[in-house]
Structures are given as structure tokens and as C-alpha cells.
């Protein structure tokens, strides 16, 4: 039971971080379908930090280093999206998809190359971080607290405050609702959209490293992050682009994702003898159902997905 709670909170943290990322980007008017790819890049940066960092360093330093590197990797990678979609008005769906494919390929190539250089016979794309990973968690009784749960909670509070209580957040949302109007009162739409995409990159980058450290101590980068970036988008839609709702939606989805990790520990679930694949499918099926019910009256930012053209004011 404790294990279920632990995994639920852990996966919910991932979904909160990434969905908030999507939320910032979409409120600024850019659909970020590249979240999945950004997660992979953040995860790669974080995993390599864990691999090379000295495990004897103070734990807080390790956590901070991993956090900073993941944020940086995510932000830098998301620039590819911002550059193409904001400055060059490229198709946001196409570029987002390209980012996902590029991240999966690039992360595999990088992880494999590092392995090959270390040992020419090791051609796997797995990065191991057994020792340093211990710094990320604290055992409270049976419950294994992960510092990133706290990070996700802080991000949630910050997102609420930034979006609704600050000038920056309100301006950001204006750019997603009616960029022409925002521009007419002197807000630079391009800058705001860049900001939205960069914030989404930072959050998704952290989400990536949390996902690949959830319960495992190595990651095979050929697998990417198994559609989690898209689950986060489903969470965001279910949460109607509002931080608090996103937090609740993430808990629900996190619960179903956690079930697939721990179902064998429950006697009555194990007795049902349902194949593991069914549990693996659960989060995706739930998200389809949820999307089917919530998308019809969606409260999506009105101008999302439409490149802003100053000339069409």
C-alpha cells in the first residue's frame, strides 16, 4: 500500500511537472507536442550527471546539480521548437513530432557512443546511476520520499501564482487568447511565446529525469519515455489548462500508472490473473476516455497553434 502511494506520488510528480510545462507553452499560444522529446533530453542530461557526479558529495548538491542540468537541457532543447514555430512560423505539430523523434534518436546515439568509447563491446544504450541515485531519496519508514515530489509541489504553487497573480502570467495568457490585442497594448508576443516555450522546456526536462529515476537505477534510452509526454498533455487537457486541476488530474493518472508497477503486490489483483500488458495499457485507455469526455467543451487557449504574424493585425 505504501508502495502504491509512493509510486502514485512519484508518477503524479512527473505528470504535474510536464503538464505544467505544456500549460505554460499553450497559454502563450504554442502547442508543445515535443514535450516527450524534451523529457528525453532532460532525462539524458540528468542521467549523465548522476553517472559522472561523485556520489560522496553532499546529497543536496547532487540533487541541485541534477535539477539544474535537467532544466538546462530541457530549456536548450525546447529552443529548437521556439525558433522554428515562433520565428519561422513552422507547423507546430510537425516540429513537435520532429523533436520527439530527434530526441529519441539523439539520446540513443549519445548514450551508445558514450558506452562504446568506454568499452567497444558495450553497444547498449543503457545509462546506469545506481550510487548517485540514492541521494535523490530519503527513507521515511517504509515510504521512500523523493526530493522531486517536493519540486513538483513547489512548481505547482509557483505556476498558480505566476499565471494568475503576476503581470507576466496574465500577459502570457493574453498572448494565447488574443495575440493581436496583446500586441496592440505593447506586449511583445514573440518574447512572451519564447518565454512560454522555454518554461515548458525547463519543466519537462525535470519531468524527464524524475520519470527515469522512478524505481529504477538505469535507463535504456532506446525506449524514450513511453508516451509520458503525451499522457501529460492528456492530463493538461483534463485539467482544463488550470494548475490546480492539473495537480488533481495528475494524481488520478499517476495512480493508474503506479498500479502497473505494483499490481503484483496486491493479493486480490494478482489473483485476478490479468496479464501485465493490461495494466500497462491502463493509463492510455483512461486518458482516451477522459479526453473523449473533456475535449468537446475544451477551454483551450483560443489562439494556440496559430503562428503569430504581425502583419495580420
Amino acid at each position: 500500500m505504501v508502495l502504491l502511494l509512493q509510486y502514485t506520488l512519484l508518477f503524479a510528480s512527473v505528470l504535474i511537472l510536464v503538464a505544467l510545462g505544456g500549460c505554460f507553452s499553450e497559454h502563450s499560444g504554442v502547442i508543445n507536442l515535443g514535450l516527450e522529446g524534451i523529457m528525453v533530453m532532460g532525462a539524458l542530461g540528468g542521467a549523465l550527471t548522476l553517472k559522472y557526479i561523485d556520489p560522496s558529495l553532499p546529497k543536496i548538491l547532487i540533487v541541485l546539480a541534477v535539477l539544474v542540468i535537467s532544466v538546462l537541457c530541457g530549456a536548450v532543447y525546447s529552443m529548437l521548437l521556439a525558433f522554428a514555430c515562433i520565428n519561422f512560423k513552422a507547423d507546430q505539430t510537425l516540429v513537435g513530432t520532429a523533436l520527439n523523434l530527434l530526441a529519441a534518436a539523439a539520446a540513443t546515439v549519445i548514450a551508445k557512443s558514450i558506452n562504446i568509447i568506454e568499452d567497444p563491446n558495450n553497444v547498449s544504450s543503457t545509462v546506469q546511476y545506481v550510487e548517485a541515485k540514492k541521494a535523490l531519496v530519503v527513507n521515511i519508514g517504509k515510504f521512500q520520499f523523493n526530493w522531486f515530489m517536493l519540486v513538483a509541489f513547489i512548481a505547482l504553487v509557483c505556476a498558480y501564482v505566476i499565471l494568475y497573480k503576476t503581470r507576466f502570467g496574465l500577459r502570457l495568457m493574453a498572448c494565447g487568447e488574443h495575440p493581436q490585442a496583446a500586441d496592440s497594448v505593447g506586449i511583445n508576443v514573440y518574447t512572451m511565446r519564447w518565454a512560454g516555450v522555454l518554461i515548458s522546456g525547463m519543466l519537462a526536462g525535470v519531468g524527464g529525469i524524475v520519470y527515469i529515476t522512478a524505481g529504477v537505477s538505469e535507463w535504456k534510452f532506446e525506449n524514450g519515455v513511453a508516451g509520458f509526454g503525451f499522457l501529460a498533455l492528456a492530463v493538461m487537457i483534463f485539467g482544463q489548462w488550470k494548475p490546480v486541476n492539473i495537480g488533481l488530474a495528475a494524481l488520478l493518472f499517476g495512480f493508474f500508472r503506479a498500479l502497473s508497477n505494483v499490481y503484483s503486490g496486491f493479493d486480490f489483483l494478482a489473483a485476478l490473473n490479468i496479464p501485465g500488458s493490461v495494466y500497462n495499457m491502463m493509463p492510455y485507455i483512461i486518458s482516451l476516455i477522459v479526453l473523449a469526455f473533456t475535449s468537446a467543451n475544451s477551454r483551450a487557449p483560443k489562439a494556440e497553434g496559430i503562428p503569430y504574424d504581425k502583419g495580420s493585425r
Binding site: L33, C85, V95, L101, L102, I116, V123, M281
Partner: protein, 377 residues
């Protein structure tokens, strides 16, 4: 003097043709993509990088004898056929304004249906092919109904269905797997009638037994789609729905029906694509695979590289498969073969700039024209 103006005018009109612009844009994407791939190779190991990129570009030409080269050329074509089908699926849906990233999942269920019919039920190849068509099509309809009636973003529902499809097919094919390995049993040994006929085509490729009618069929389907899109009322409606959904509805087209129908056809194309590969016996399905096969995603690259035109897609699919196969000849202890996927991904990213490139080219041509006319006055 006037002859010179005429010449430049001709040159300009040549450049302003949409087809020419598409080809130039695609070639630029390829060149830049390969160049970035080369830089990546240089970073990994500078010593053999030049050889490595040449290996990728040469693919089967690395074999010294003509017979061997032909045989491996056949292998590349065998995999290019399903890729072309996936690319056509995405391309067809894109005409209706739908980004069918679910092609990967439709491909997966197509593979599942065709293999189940072939291995478990022992049905002949044409029935298996039809099963793949229906399975892929119905899977596409899920996306279509969700999109048309419930306004679900087709990219997100597509991705969800990809994973659901993967796990379902893994469960379904668990009953026909080899006892000692996670792979499904060999189709030739279990049910030879389910293998696609070759009609003697294999003789052209030094008796490569995997070369079947799938390859010419894929090309014929591409040409058919071109005809449907450019010459029929249905094709016109699809394109109209893609360009302006509300206008299409206003002028009496059933836009919801068109969305669902488009995705049925798209799904069917991807499903057939899977049958085109798995019914040759070239590959066996691994029931423990934990990631969606890349065929559907590579199709995105082929589609956009082909300038969103069925005929262009034929060449683009071949090219993408050519470098993907070429990547597998790299020295595995020096370079990861995924460098080809990396190059394909870069090419897709660059395709995002194609629209801007065309706009830039056209506005330059227009400016030049205006200047020339101004000079004459």
C-alpha cells in the same frame, strides 16, 4: 538585352513552379540533414567519420559483387514498401488537415491481424492482407470518431492508441510465438500459403525470396492515391476539408463523414503496409517489444520529404529506407546505427522550414520581377 531579360524571366518561371520548389526544398533538407549527421559522426569518432557517412549513403553498394548488391537492394526495397504505405497514410490524412501520428499504431494492429490470421487461423495471404486492411482501418476510425464528434486532438489520441495497440498485439500474438524466443513462429514453415506471392520478381534480385508483389503494389497504390486526390470529387472534398473545414461544411460537404472516412483509408493503408512486411517473412514480431515500431514515425519523414505528394513520397520513402538500411552497415563497435534515425529526424525538423523557404523564394522572385518591370518602364 531583351534576350537576356527573357532568359532570366524563363529561369524565374522555372524556379517559381511549385513542383520545382518542392524538389529543391527536399534536396536542401537531405543535404543539410546528411551534413549534420556527418558532424555528429565526427564528434563520436573523427577517424572513421567520412567512411561512415559514405557507408550510410552507399547502403547495399558497399557489396563488391553485383549479385550481392542486387540481393541487398531487394532487402531495402522490401522494407521501403511498408514505409511507403505508412507515409501514404500520413500524407493522405494530412490532405484533410489531420496529422495521423497514429499510423504507427495502425501499422501495429495491421501486423497483429495479418500474423494472427496467417499463423493461428492458417488463412491464405489475400485474406490476411484484407484482415490487416480492416484492422488498420477500424483502428483509424477510432481516431476519426474521437476527432469528428468529440473534438479530441488526433495526435494525442493517436499516440494513446499506438501504445494500446502495441500491448494488445503483444498479448494476441503470444499464442503463436516460438517456445524458446519472444518471436512469432516462421510464417514459411507454419503456413506457406500466407506468404505473399512473388510472381518471379525475386529473380530480378538474385533470388531474394523476400521480394514479393508488395513492392509493385505499394507503388501502384501511391499512383492510385495521386489520381484519387487530384481527379475525383472525393479527393477534392478531402482537400477542401483540410484547407477550410468550415467552408467545406458550408458548401454542403459532410465534413465529419469525410474526417472518419479519411482516417479509415489512412489506417487501412498503414495496416496493409504492415502486412506487406510481415507476410513476406522478412521480419518476425517480437511479443516482448516495449516500444512502438518506428515504421510509422519514419513515414512522417518520408511524407514531408516527398513534398506531400504521393509520387514524391515514393522516392522519399526509398531514400529514408536507403539511409536507414545503410546505417545498419556501420561498424557497431564504433558508431550507433541509430545515426540514420537521427538524420531522418533532422530532415523532418528541417521540413518544418519548407513553407518559409517557399515563401522566401516566391517573394524574392516577385521582387526581382517588379524591379525588372520597373527598369523597362
Amino acid at each position: 538585352m531583351s534576350a537576356e531579360i527573357k532568359k532570366t524571366a524563363e529561369k524565374e518561371s522555372f524556379l517559381s513552379k511549385p513542383a520545382v520548389q518542392s524538389i529543391i526544398a527536399s534536396l536542401l533538407c537531405i543535404i543539410v540533414g546528411l551534413f549534420i549527421g556527418y558532424i555528429a559522426l565526427l564528434f563520436i569518432n573523427a577517424q572513421g567519420a567520412t567512411d561512415a557517412i559514405i557507408t550510410i549513403i552507399k547502403n547495399y553498394f558497399t557489396y563488391p559483387t553485383k549479385a550481392a548488391a542486387l540481393k541487398y537492394c531487394g532487402n531495402t526495397l522490401v522494407k521501403a514498401a511498408p514505409l511507403l504505405m505508412c507515409a501514404l497514410s500520413i500524407q493522405f490524412c494530412y490532405q484533410a488537415g489531420l496529422f495521423n501520428i497514429g499510423a504507427a499504431g495502425q501499422y501495429v494492429v495491421g501486423a497483429g491481424a495479418s500474423l494472427y490470421c496467417a499463423l493461428k487461423l492458417g488463412l491464405p495471404w489475400h485474406v490476411c492482407l484484407f484482415a490487416a486492411l480492416i484492422a488498420g482501418g477500424v483502428y483509424g476510425v477510432f481516431v476519426g470518431v474521437l476527432k469528428a464528434y468529440l473534438n479530441v486532438n488526433e495526435v494525442i489520441s493517436g499516440i494513446m492508441l499506438n501504445w494500446i495497440g502495441l500491448y494488445t498485439v503483444n498479448m494476441m500474438l503470444n499464442c503463436v510465438k516460438e517456445t524458446a524466443s519472444p518471436y512469432t513462429v516462421s510464417i514459411e514453415k507454419t503456413n506457406a500459403s500466407a506468404v505473399l506471392p512473388s510472381l518471379g520478381l525475386e529473380k530480378l534480385f538474385s533470388n531474394n525470396k523476400y521480394v514479393t508483389i508488395a513492392i509493385p503494389l505499394a507503388v501502384i497504390i501511391a499512383i492510385l492515391l495521386k489520381v484519387v486526390l487530384s481527379m475525383t470529387v472525393f479527393g477534392y472534398e478531402i482537400k477542401a476539408t483540410g484547407i477550410a473545414k468550415d467552408a467545406a461544411k458550408y458548401s454542403g460537404m459532410k465534413e465529419k463523414r469525410n474526417v472518419i472516412l479519411t482516417l479509415f483509408i489512412g489506417g487501412a493503408l498503414a495496416g496493409i503496409g504492415a502486412a506487406f512486411l510481415f507476410l513476406t517473412g522478412y521480419e518476425q514480431w517480437s511479443v516482448t517489444q516495449s516500444s512502438v515500431p518506428g515504421m510509422g514515425f519514419n513515414g512522417i519523414a518520408a511524407t514531408f520529404l516527398g513534398g506531400l505528394d504521393p509520387i514524391g513520397t515514393i522516392f522519399a520513402s526509398y531514400f529514408i529506407q536507403h539511409i536507414t538500411s545503410g546505417g545498419s552497415y556501420l561498424d557497431k563497435n564504433a558508431y550507433p546505427s541509430q545515426i540514420s534515425d537521427f538524420i531522418s529526424a533532422i530532415i523532418i525538423y528541417l521540413c518544418g522550414f519548407v513553407l518559409f523557404f517557399k515563401f522566401f523564394l516566391n517573394s524574392r522572385i516577385r521582387n526581382k520581377k517588379n524591379n525588372a518591370e520597373g527598369g523597362n518602364k
